[in-house]
Amino acid sequence: MSLTTSRKNELNALCNKFRIDLIELLHSIQTGHPGGSLSVCEILTTLYFEKAKVDPKNPKWPERDRVVLTKGHAAPMLYRVLAEKGFFPVEEMKTLRQLNTRLQGHPCALETPGVELSTGPLGMGLSACLGMAIGLKADHIDSTVYAVMGDGELNEGTCWEACMAASKFKADNLIAIVDRNHVQLDGTSDEIMPLGNLAEKFKAFGFEVFTCNGHDVEALSDTIDLAKAVKGKPAVILAETVKGKGVSFMEGKNTWHGKAINDEECKLALAELRGEK
């Protein structure tokens, strides 16, 4: 077990704070995507606060690990984590989605410190991550590229093109992490586009496959270590999650993919996250 109990508690407390801030923020601006932001919370928190080498003072540090949010609509959670990490002031979060902000509706790598790739259109991220992985290897830089993907995103054929290529080019510095919440936009994965046995699919595409509870920071941390140890091929972590995690009326509901939160819902959600009910 890689994490001490106190570290685990710290990370969980961070996640809880991020969720609370996310709900307050999305309620106040009446736009943005709650479901996929809540499901990816532990994944991003574990990466940025435990596993990924990054330097907020030097966001373009060449030796850094690359964390890429290929499911760009979860930008609010990415920004919240980056802000806590020190890439920009937490105060700036309130400019999310507003005119003149650095915090665009979907991540923009040009302006936002810590954002590695402009994403939003799904299905392009893994290819870019593979390019990063190959480029880093060419420069003999020992860094890992983490591609944080949606499961609905895997509907896009390009993801599988990238998988074939990652396998061909033996990208063992590439780790895909799938936020496997079983829900996309119009419905559940099974309703909209069944993904079948994802583990077997990735295996058939030449990946080393790991599965873990995507809301358990310790499991995530341990699994990332295992994935990093893989040599000669790419790895994928199927992180089992719940869309809308932490807010019971949002959990597992595609309708909360991108819906505005009203006053009553905000109150309920905050009470639940603060353990007041």
């Binding site: 760009g72 005119l99 402009s118």
Partner: protein
């Protein structure tokens, strides 16, 4: 209050699609946004949600068209005309397959999602495809006609819609015709040729200019292709000053199409271009974006005065 064009689209697709059993609707996991779900709910046998897979969707649509179906493919305009482009070009355009490309959330109407979701190149891209007809919906009644016309006419089409409501400029019984622009308001000093949400803005700009004694013609060029050469050249001859106004890049869209006509027709008229000035926009409230990027009433009015001053 007029209705959002996407709501009108959803209802019209259901209304006309129910009558014609060859109509199919395909969507790429955004049917709640595009409103193709309205049709999907009532006609589930002719509704195919293919998941987040636009390239696959347009390929399937082409195949359906070869069997005599009339497939409407639905997703955000930006994804449809980029990821869906190879199908549009190689399948629909090249072999004249009867596929209807319905570009939801045109322009910056998906305002808060930001530039990754704005569609500011789609008109330019789609009008270069041979055999395609290209339309931009400007109001609710026209949107209804566009859907009916798309079912009635056998041709690949790109139809750009909007997430939002636009100013209503027509009545339920207004008649439209492919290749014919609509003169919404006549005038002699300048002509604003607009499409989409900009038509309503152009009318307001013309009204404001009228108070200053400037008499402006407003044309709704909702059919970008085939374009109404006659009306453009006649407007140029009559007013000598043209302002094109579109929620699109100034490169290659309506402005480009009009400029091609003016030049090749030997028109003696100046042209000013209202649109995105070769840049990405940003996220923010829709009206604030229209204003900041010069797509508002006062920018159009200023462009008209500038065009007149150059005559």
């Amino acid at each position: 209050m007029s209705r959002s064009l996407r709501d009108v689209y959803g209802d019209s697709l259901l209304k006309y699609g129910k009558e014609n059993k060859n109509v199919f609707a395909l969507d790429a996991d955004v049917s709640g946004s595009t409103k193709s779900a309205v049709f999907g709910k009532e006609c589930p046998d002719r509704f195919l949600n293919v998941g987040i897979a636009e390239a696959n969707m347009v390929g399937m649509a082409a195949g359906l068209a070869t069997t005599g179906k009339i497939p409407f493919v639905n997703t955000f305009a930006v994804f449809l005309t980029s990821i869906g482009l190879i199908g549009a070009r190689s399948l629909s355009s090249y072999s004249k397959l009867n596929v209807k490309y319905m570009g939801a959330y045109g322009g910056v109407s998906d305002a808060f999602d930001g530039p990754s979701h704005h569609s500011l190149e789609d008109i330019a891209i789609m009008r270069t495809l041979p055999n395609f007809q290209v339309f931009v919906a400007s109001d609710e009644y026209q949107t209804d006609w566009l859907v009916k016309n798309a079912i009635d006419v056998n041709a690949p089409m790109y139809i750009r819609l909007s997430r939002d409501a636009t100013k209503t400029v027509y009545t339920p019984d207004t008649k439209f015709e492919t290749g014919k622009g609509k003169v919404i308001r006549d005038g002699k000093d300048a002509t604003i040729i607009a499409c989409g949400v900009m038509v309503g803005q152009a009318v307001e700009a013309a009204e404001a200019l009228a108070k200053k004694g400037i008499d402006v013609r407003v044309v709704d060029m909702f059919c970008i292709k085939p374009i109404d050469r006659e009306l453009i050249l006649e407007s140029a001859a009559k007013t000598g000053a043209i302002v094109t106004a579109e929620e699109h890049s100034i490169i290659g869209g309506l402005g480009g199409a009009v400029a091609e006509v003016l030049t090749s027709g030997g028109a003696k008229a100046v042209q000013e271009f209202i649109g995105l000035q070769d840049q990405h926009a940003e996220c923010g409230p829709y009206n604030a974006l229209l204003q900041k990027y010069g797509l508002d009433v006062s920018s159009i009015a200023a462009a008209v005065e500038k065009a007149i001053s150059k005559k």
